[in-house]
Amino acid sequence: MLLTINFASDEPIYMQIRNAVVTGIATGVLHDGDTLPSVRTLGAEIGVNLHTVNKAYKLLQSEGFIEILRNHGTVVHAGDAAKNAAQFLENVGESLHAVVSEAITRGVDRSVIHKMIDNVYDEIGGKIS
């Protein structure tokens, strides 16, 4: 996968790395079991602090998109569940962006949005379970 980092972008570099991997999984460029460069290699290649890469990898790991194995490096986890989640994040990204932009212009605090999402999760999650 060709990972492109834009230093002029407002988006933090760790988010760019994370988003690139998510997009890679969603679009089928990254497959299950593909390896990603080590934190050290990627940091040196892009010319950014190792913590930045580590932050991206930790985030991807917590979201279940990658697995960091002690002796086998960083492996992409692109099973059906991960692929679905990646596709969802890809698709919903723009509409979420629009919702948050509107919230900001209307002066709605982020904690209110967080709370709203929590409530929706509780409401629907409660019904499903």
Binding site: A8, D34, S38, G47
Partner: protein, 357 residues
């Protein structure tokens, strides 16, 4: 002309020639440290004129400095020590002159670039990396570097374990056929070649270590420097081979202290040394000059002060490859770079002071 004069003259010519042909050694899309979107710039009329003017300035300048030195040595007939000092001042003058001319032509090239239409291939803030390439594919195994040690250790063993068995008088110099000067055996005469060998091997070792990886912050994108991984691997293997032959010549010197050996052994090493030197230039030419850069190319002119000093606080790398594609430089935005510079100055000044007292 004796051997020392020959070495000094050869070094002088090498430095002068490398300074003069500098623009013809870099990648075709880089001119005087200014990066362009593709190698069409090489055929550009204005760029050709800039190179031509540089050639005239450098040829006349270096010839002038060379003539001044020759005049001084032939007319004033200084002592051997003063000649060496004059020679070193001359080399410094060559380097300062070369750098000043480079900076002037860097400025001209910047003006040329500013006058041209913005090249779509040039991206200023984007870096691309191919994530599917593993370290195994791109970086030569560190195990290769172990080849630095066997002969080096053997030389130490021969020198130290063989010392008691060495005769009271040991060879100090060989001509092409046999020993033509002898010296009294002492630890300093026996260990002196080892010191030179260790320093030379250490320099080559560091060169190999630094050549193993090239950050994309310099390459720009996977196709800006095509097949660069292979180029670096070849270069490292050639440097390791060069080092092996260099170490062998020192091993022969130490064995020669123990028992007379034919000078032919050392002389024959010149052949692989020459072949390897030619191979290094050939591979450099094939990968850096012939291969065409493709796709987006990182325009990081702003991070290269005067086209030669890298200053990028956002880049954590301390050492980076020169944008020309060969050699390394320090990231002067990192404190370690300054520590190294001060260290080198202290070492050089210290060794000069130590040798004169």
């Amino acid at each position: 002309m004796n051997e020392a004069d020959l070495i000094l003259s050869a070094t002088w010519i090498l430095v002068a020639v490398l300074l003069i042909i500098q623009p013809w050694l870099t990648r075709k899309n880089v001119l005087f440290g200014v990066v362009f979107g593709n190698d069409n710039i090489w055929k550009d009329k204005n760029a050709k004129q800039i190179r031509q003017r540089y050639l005239y300035a450098m040829v006349f300048g270096t010839a002038g400095i060379t003539i001044l030195l020759i005049l001084y040595v032939t007319l004033a007939r200084p002592s051997e020590g003063t000649t060496v000092i004059a020679y070193l001042i001359g080399i410094a003058a060559l380097l300062i002159f070369g750098t000043a001319v480079f900076i002037a032509f860097h400025a001209q090239t910047c003006t040329l670039k500013a006058s041209q239409e913005l090249d779509a291939n040039l991206v200023s803030e984007k870096i691309s990396i191919e994530t599917s390439l593993s370290d195994k594919q791109t970086v030569i195994s560190a195990a290769w570097l172990l080849l630095f040690f066997p002969i080096l250790i053997a030389t130490y063993v021969v020198a130290i374990a063989g010392y008691p068995a060495m005769p009271a008088k040991i060879p100090a110099h060989y001509n092409s056929m046999a020993v033509d000067a002898w010296t009294v055996k002492s630890w300093s005469t026996v260990l002196a070649p080892l010191l030179t060998e260790t320093i030379s091997a250490a320099i080559l070792f560091v060169c190999c270590l630094l050549t193993r990886r090239a950050p994309a912050s310099v390459r720009g994108n996977p196709d800006a420097a095509p097949q660069y991984y292979r180029f670096r691997k070849y270069m490292i293997i050639l440097m390791i081979l060069l080092n092996i032959f260099m170490e062998l010549s020192f091993l022969f010197i130490e064995i020669g202290f123990l028992t007379p050996i034919s000078p032919l052994c050392s002389d024959l090493l010149i052949i692989p040394d020459l072949i390897l030197t030619v191979a290094i230039f050939y591979i450099y030419f094939r990968f850096v000059r012939v291969k065409k850069p493709k796709g987006p190319i990182l325009d990081d002119d702003a991070k290269w002060v005067l086209g030669m000093f890298y200053f990028n606080p956002a880049d954590p790398s301390g050492y980076i490859e020169k944008r020309t594609g060969i050699g390394h430089t320090l990231n002067f935005a990192r404190p370690t770079a300054w520590v190294i510079i001060v260290g080198i100055i202290v070492f050089v000044v210290g060794s000069i002071v130590a040798s004169t007292h």
